[in-house]
Amino acid sequence: MTESRIPAAYMTPGTSSFADFLTAQSPDLLPRHNAVPGNLTDIAPHGTTIVAATFPGGVIIAGDRRATQGNLIAERDMRKVFPSDEYSAVGIAGSAGIAVELVKLFQTELEHYEKIEGTTLSIEGKASRLSALVRGNLPMAMQGLVVVPLFVGFDPDAAKGKIYGYDPTGGRYEQTGYTGVGSGSLFAKGSLKKLYRPDLDEAGLVAVLIQALYDAADDDSATGGPDLSRRLFPLVHVITADGGRTLPDAEVAAVAENVIAGRLQRPDGPIAELEA
């Protein structure tokens, strides 16, 4: 670490926010940069579709694996869903490089608070910290490097899963039931609208979310569907009272193969029942 005495700022009690400390001590490490002229939309890859939904006792977030740059596929196996701590996770859409840095900062922020204060933040508190980080990126967003996260977590007080959507200014909106973010989210949300039921169990909801991602990939060129030849499948993270876990590839693969088998019979997916 340092070869001499620890700097005074480190020894001064005060903020328990890592982002604030970083801003004061080493602002060059923040995931934002000095203003450069022009529109930067296409200089870096973009991550695309994330979906999330609640079920009794928890919440699930899932994301496809594709990143695009202009009309090209930049990454086929990108991770866009990250656990942010034991009881929360964040999915990101938008400028990939900045988004990944933002997530790293957010993860450190939560862990730092937990260690300094000896207690975890409330789910609202976590969502609020993420707001501040997204807002800090606004100047970059104005130049086309937009990052829009989707935050999910388990609220031990209410004993249920919660979902927060964001806008590029850091505005945060708690969502009920399900939501999506990213270029394919329009189609994913349309799919979820017809398939989602609040009383689905964990396995059922995973299947519904994979269906929604399939629908997004079906109509949005920037969203990747399950890649059977390369064995690349969406990332699915489930959070319940017992904590969070990312589903193993084999588990998601089984669901995805099932979805694809169904689509071979009916390419548009399951039919929502008409009420009489």
Binding site: R5, F21, E86, E114
Partner: protein
């Protein structure tokens, strides 16, 4: 104007050392033991909120005795240093040795500078590796000396008699339960008599290699402590107070049984389990 008395540098340093030592010896002892799967820290601490043992990073823990405000500042500085380094580089680049160095430099500078009161603290920096041979335990004194300890060490008031007790009884590669029992027995040992310390007055935490999460720090809860300590002494009051403790000793003869207890806690977040 009166001429100041001449004080030799030797005398000055001796006075400062006496001052620091006196402050430290007023407090309780804290012990640290290497066991088969990591390092255990134990201290008598009736407060459940003000910790002497804390998590610094994935594999690094901090334990201290002396003046609370002083070691709390050092702890916060350690968390900030570690998080800053892990964020700027990688999680693997945060090392216990680096942290111990930074503390040593800081304590040494403060001790020998005329302007500042010496810190009345003594501390441990523990780091676990992939196997018991890679585990590190550093003991730092008020004047910035670093001692690379092997197996066990004690700091704080009565450290000598506690350390002597450990020296006679410590065995390498003990189980967690045995290590905790020995640590607690050592804490209760004085030259004149041995007393039993109630589980609620103990603060015990471990760096546990077997945790599946990257963060290996874990606090041992009072209920678990009652089980571990009760299985040896099995005093009637303990059994009446905690019905579960009655069952636990019965299972203990099986060799694998002791391991099952800590693994149960593994799903909990390392610092503040919100679901109690």
């Amino acid at each position: 104007m009166s001429t100041p008395f001449y004080v030799s540098p030797e005398q000055l340093m001796r006075d400062r050392a006496d001052f620091a030592r006196k402050g430290i010896s007023r407090g309780r002892a804290l012990v640290s033991l290497q066991y088969a799967d990591g390092i255990v820290f134990a201290s008598e601490n009736p407060s459940a909120a003000l910790h002497k043992v804390s998590e610094i990073y994935d594999r690094i823990a901090f334990a201290a005795v002396g003046r609370y405000n002083e070691f709390e500042n050092l702890r916060i500085a350690g968390v900030r240093l570690a998080d800053m380094r892990g964020y700027a580089y990688d999680r693997r680049d945060v090392t216990g040795r680096g942290l111990a160095n930074a503390y040593a430099q800081t304590l040494g500078t403060i001790f020998s500078s005329g302007g500042e009161k010496p810190y009345e603290v003594e501390l441990f920096v523990g780091e676990i590796g992939d196997s018991a041979e890679d585990d590190q335990l550093y003991r730092l004194t008020y004047d910035g000396q670093v001692v690379d300890e092997h197996g066990f060490a004690a700091i704080g008031g009565a450290a000598e008699s506690v350390g002597g007790y450990l020296k006679e009884r410590y065995t390498k590669g003990a189980s967690l339960e045995d290590a905790i029992r020995l640590a607690v027995a050592a804490l209760g040992h004085t030259d004149t008599d041995d007393r039993e310390i109630a589980a609620k007055d103990l603060e015990v935490a471990v760096l546990d290699r077997n945790r599946t999460q990257p963060r290996k720090f874990r606090r041992i809860r009072p209920a678990t402590l009652v089980e571990i300590l009760g299985s040896v002494t099995a005093t009637p009051p303990v059994e009446e107070a905690k019905p579960t403790a009655v069952e636990a000793p019965a299972e203990k003869p099986v060799d694998e049984a002791p391991l099952a207890t800590p693994v149960d806690d593994d799903g909990d977040p390392p610092i503040a389990p919100p679901l109690d």
